[in-house]
């Protein structure tokens, strides 16, 4: 099978184009998409798609609450919108439509309504200051009626976006600015390689499954988005010290794949969860609590959370770097749980 090495931005673009070709109910809605001479959204994902689909790339005013509401209505009426925000932080403006309408509509209608709506949001701290930097996962994980995924490589990005488009439920996809592999004017300093060899032809990646990215026997390290990459780097270093870390890409934040995670924990008995974003009230809390419930008796020691400090995201690089969990902190946490 031939493959092409693509970054996340490119593979998402390909997924969107293929799904729009396959199903004419699919359309994109967001800010600064489909502008001739524009950038294809904030991170080039939709670049040029307006040429192929002039009627299905809806460039909105700056009105997040409104256009998520529009997407909600369109999905109810049989369309399959892909709505995106330029930065995840702006999801807070649309939170009412997402949480009160989009996620609940099926239930409160007694099952009458399907809401095949994909939402995409870039997250992560990248030198932009407090309001373009948050990790929003915590606010949407556990919202009943909503599926939440976070993609850490181009293969998953394409396959999960396609699965999301074909799902009859609302799906929130978190993407990380440092993983897009955006090029040219949209290149991000500090970016990490998240390219994959993308096979030709159609494939999907199921939404509810975690992925073991590296096998190991001493400690289970759980991460997603950028932190998954840092966790893999940490595992490399740990291996050099003789510590065998299993690294799992949590990937599906809602629902959590406790089967995959639990199977690992039952073998290792030690867990480190790595999350970008303040520690208190993060997704790691849910994972830690769930792991304890699922297989607490196998735990040799308390689950360790490596997360950001409980502060807004600082601008200055020296503090932003201190805010974001890094490889040394992950290594250190793994060493600590190895004491047990």
């Amino acid at each position: 099978m031939t493959t092409r090495n693509l970054g996340i931005a490119e593979s998402l673009r390909e997924a969107i184009a293929e799904e729009m070709t396959r199903d004419e109910r699919v359309f994109c809605i967001g800010e600064d998409i489909a502008v001739p001479g524009g950038w294809g959204g904030a991170f080039t994902v939709t670049l040029g798609l307006e040429k192929k689909f002039p009627d299905r790339m809806i460039n909105t005013p700056i009105a997040e609450l409104g256009f998520f509401g529009v997407a909600c209505g369109a999905a109810m009426a049989g369309m399959r919108p892909i709505a995106d925000v330029q930065y995840g932080d702006f999801l807070l403006l649309a939170a009412d439509q997402i949480i009160n309408n989009i996620a609940k509509m099926r239930y409160m209608s007694g099952g009458q309504i399907s809401m095949p709506l994909v939402m995409r949001a870039p997250v992560g701290a990248t030198g932009r200051g407090s309001q373009h930097a948050q990790n929003l996962e915590r606010y949407f994980t556990g919202v009943p009626g909503l599926k939440v995924v976070a993609v850490s490589n181009a293969y998953d990005a394409k396959g999960m976006l396609k699965a999301a488009v074909r799902d009859d439920n609302p799906v929130m996809i978190f993407e990380h600015k440092l993983l897009y592999g955006s090029k040219g004017a949209r290149f991000e300093p500090g970016a990490v390689d998240a390219t994959s060899d993308i096979p030709d032809g159609d494939y999907t990646v199921p939404l509810g499954k975690a992925a073991v990215r590296r096998e190991g026997s001493d400690v289970t390290i759980l991460g997603w988005l950028l932190m998954l990459h840092y966790s893999l780097q940490a595992a490399e270093r740990l291996a050099a010290e003789g510590i065998s870390a299993e690294v799992i890409d949590v990937r599906s934040l809602s629902p959590l794949d406790l089967e995959t995670i639990g199977a690992s924990v039952r073998r290792t008995g030690r867990v480190v969860i790595v999350e970008e974003g303040p520690k208190t009230g993060g997704v790691s809390a849910e994972i830690a609590a769930s792991v304890m419930e699922e297989c607490g008796e196998y735990l040799r020691c308390p689950v360790r959370r490596v997360a950001s400090a409980d502060v807004p995201v600082p601008f200055t690089p020296v503090l932003e770097n201190a805010y974001r969990p890094d490889v040394p902190r992950i290594v250190e946490a793994a060493r600590e749980v190895m004491q047990f």
């Binding site: 209505g73 309408n101 409160m108």
Partner: protein, 335 residues
């Protein structure tokens, strides 16, 4: 600027909608809503019915006038105050009552409740109880209709209070720039909960404001004149079906009952209530029908009795309908 809001005294007769059956049908539908609301209020106050209620006595002409101009496959969005919209859009008294009693036979299987009644097959999205929340949703329905190249129309019902919400502006603006087939129906009943419109906007002529700002056709209409509402809606629907939407309709009306539950409406001046009570849309339309010789007072009374009997029978049924079981708690979350 509230002068414009005192309701006109006359019924504006529609030239071409005067088939007796049609007119009597409008009347009966309004009576059905009134009887439903009065009956539900009793059941609620007696503690027979659970939940909370927001009712529309006095506003029947808006729901009936607008929905009569729609096809079943046109969609409406509604609010916490949606019983009238539901009955006008053709939901049955039974499926509504069942829903209000929390029965699994209710239009939303008892999971929605009074604030969220709806039936997609009948063209009604479950009520969105977040003020203004249904407005962008209706624009989205209309966007779908347009992309699907159908001539279906979406209608969003909301109150004067919603005009202050950002969702209103975002939704109307998008509908305007994309020429969407959506009719925004503002039921201006002078109050958002206990707050008078003059406290929350400098200029209370909402249609003028919206028309001017968004560049769409916007009209202010006597919302207690069911035929005037119907005619305006018919014109708006035709405009939308022809691809020239959106349209904004401000319907001046008044809530003759509490905002919710046991609200005694002490914030409404007595004279104002009296003035509007005299403008009761059912009384006005009934009198007009009598004047036209289409029916007499006994006939009007007969309509009411028949409707009430049907309602009472439905209540009997509703109270015996099966309730969901706890197994139903976790169904209908995902498709």
């Amino acid at each position: 600027m509230t002068a414009s809001h005192s309701a006109p005294r006359d019924i504006a007769w529609a030239a071409n909608s005067d088939a007796p059956g049609f007119l009597l049908g409008l009347y009966e539908r309004m009576v059905m809503i009134r009887e439903f609301e009065d009956g539900v209020k009793f059941l609620f106050l007696e503690g027979i019915m659970p939940g909370t209620i927001h009712q529309c006595q006095g506003q029947e002409a808006t729901a009936v006038g607008v929905c009569t101009a729609l096809r079943t496959d046109d969609f409406i969005t509604s609010t916490f105050r949606g019983h009238g919209h539901a009955l006008a859009k053709g939901l049955s008294v039974q499926e509504l009552l069942d829903e209000l009693f929390g029965a699994s036979t209710g239009c939303c299987k008892g999971k929605g409740g009074s604030m969220h009644v709806g039936n997609m097959a009948q063209g009604m999205v479950p009520g969105i109880a977040i003020v203004g929340g249904g407005i962008p949703v209706a624009a989205g329905l209309a966007l779908a209709f347009k992309m699907q190249r159908t001539d279906r129309v979406a209608v969003s019902f909301f109150g004067d209070g919603a005009v202050a919400e950002g969702a209103f502006h975002e939704g109307v603006n998008m509908a305007a720039i994309w020429n969407l087939p959506v009719i925004f129906v503002c039921e201006n009943n002078l109050y958002g909960a206990s707050t008078h419109v003059s406290r929350v906007m400098r200029d209370t002529h909402v249609a003028r404001r919206v028309g001017g700002s968004y560049g769409i056709r916007a009209e202010q209409i006597d919302g207690n004149d069911v035929l005037a509402v119907y005619e305006a809606a018919k014109t708006a629907v035709a405009q939308c079906r022809a691809g020239n939407g959106p349209v904004f309709l401000e319907l001046l009306t008044y809530r003759l009952t509490g905002h919710s539950r046991r609200d005694p409406c002490h914030y409404q001046p007595k004279e104002e209530r009296e003035e509007w009570t005299a403008q009761d849309p059912i009384l006005r339309f009934g009198a007009a029908l009598v004047k036209r010789g289409l029916i007499d007072d006994a006939g009007l009374e007969a309509v009411k009795s028949r409707v009430r009997r049907d309602f009472e029978a439905a209540v009997q049924v509703a109270q015996r309908q099966p309730l969901p079981t706890t197994n139903d708690l976790t169904t209908d979350v995902f498709a």
